[in-house]
Amino acid sequence: MNTDPTPPDMMRRRLFAAGCFGIGAATAGFLAATLRFLVPNVLYEPSRRFDVGAPSDFAPGSVTFLAERQLYVFNSVDGFYCISSVCTHLGCNVKRGGAGFECPCHGSRFDDNGQVVDGPAPKPLPWYALSLTPRKQLVVDLDQSVTPTFRLRA
């Protein structure tokens, strides 16, 4: 006589439910893995670190706009520094104008140091680190932000 409280039918049903759950979980995991597929591993983009020329290419006291790099390079009395031309609001290129920079898209204005003066921009324009290669070329690193006190003697 069978004294097992679980009838064989229920066993079968539970096993079936466990199997369905397992396959469902595996499918969900696979879908999640497929989401990762959407994230590119290699970016065929311009390098985030690049050289912009010799210090002597920039006249003392000048501001040079490197359109390709979306950068302003300053050669001030204290040294070199560079400010991004990409507006922190929605990514348009700011232009020199007024007392600093002006954005053509939504009218944000920045002072000479890239600090927000007016308009919807939430953050100042980023400053990026400059360095010198052994061959005396100026190198910008877009992954390395610096404060507006940054100067490079060259």
Binding site: P40, L43, Q70, G91, C92, E102, P104, G107, P120
Partner: protein, 407 residues
Amino acid sequence: MKLRLPRSIWRVGWPATDKDRSAAMISSLFLHIHAARVSRHVLRPTYTYALGLIASILFVVLSITGLALMLYYVPHPPDAYRSMKDLQFVVTFGIVLRNMHRWSAHAMVAVVFLHMCRVFWTGSYKSPREFNWVVGVLLLLLTLALSFTGYLLPWDQLAFWAITVGTNIAAYAPIVGDRLKFLLLSGHVIGPMTLLRFYVLHCVILPLAMVMLISLHIWRVRKDGLSGAEAHASPVEEVAPGVFPASSKTYGLMALSKRTRASVEARNPDDEVFAWPHLLYRELLVALAVMVALHAASLTFMAPLEEIADPTRTPNPAKAPWYFLGLQELVHYSALVGGVLVPTLLVLALLALPYYDRSKEGSGRWFAPERRVANSIFTALAIFFATLTVIGTLFRGPNWAWVWPWR
């Protein structure tokens, strides 16, 4: 004998009697999205203004013209721009097809929005159609997404900067914003991979989603019947509480369902007319009118194509597509509030609407007095957004400064 081939395709010949007309509607895969008989009331053009129908027609036009354009378009810069130039100046009728695709897309955004307004103002989202309203909101979002992804494809200055502004708005979303932008662009900047991603979204993924949701949307309209039919039906005496006299309409689940019929449009057979010819004839007329209007627009107005995309030079002002200019105007005050908070809350409010407005009063009539509060709020919001859009489109010049359009 002569009729064997056509009869094997169309079970019913050209129908001469109402019985055959019903059979023709029911036996055809394409026609049976209509009921065989429809309420007289909902056929009145001033009830629906055929906006849902026009939106569907525009989708069909967009699919066909889009497929044709795909034969020449190369989704890789800078060939993408070159192929647009070819379509405009080299390919025979290319410019007409492109214009038609562009103007249909603009029209579809406008018509889908108006369709939503109509459904709101007639209270048609009320029970049992709550979920179909949700599907409708998703269709509006899909329409906007399709339009937005299509906007980048010409790879001209207009496209590049509109998408720059648009994807940067996405980056303002809390926590996931930057990842979302990275996923959309497939990188940090708009480049070849972005174009490919937008192309696949625009030509395959989003249209497939659209077809599925449109099918669901129409299926549910078909099952629930058009709103307003009940309200305008002639009164029928109840035999017992909740029980109405048997109708000519049956559902085929009599053994399972206590209800006399599943689809309640009109309670009285006299309130209904046959879909063939009354509904089909009207649909044909609307389709013809839409086609005439689209052809007139496409032969008269040229879709804009500016110079090739130049990431180093921002046009002044850089504007998003017109239907996003209301948002851009808000974004001009604050990117987080205007670009993320307001649209998210609006969409959530729209999605949840039928579940918090649960009264059944005032459904199926335009501007029912019982719905004065709801209609006022919705109308105020619609006017507010329309005003922002007009300001963004006409009254904003270089540096987003105020300009008068007539100067």
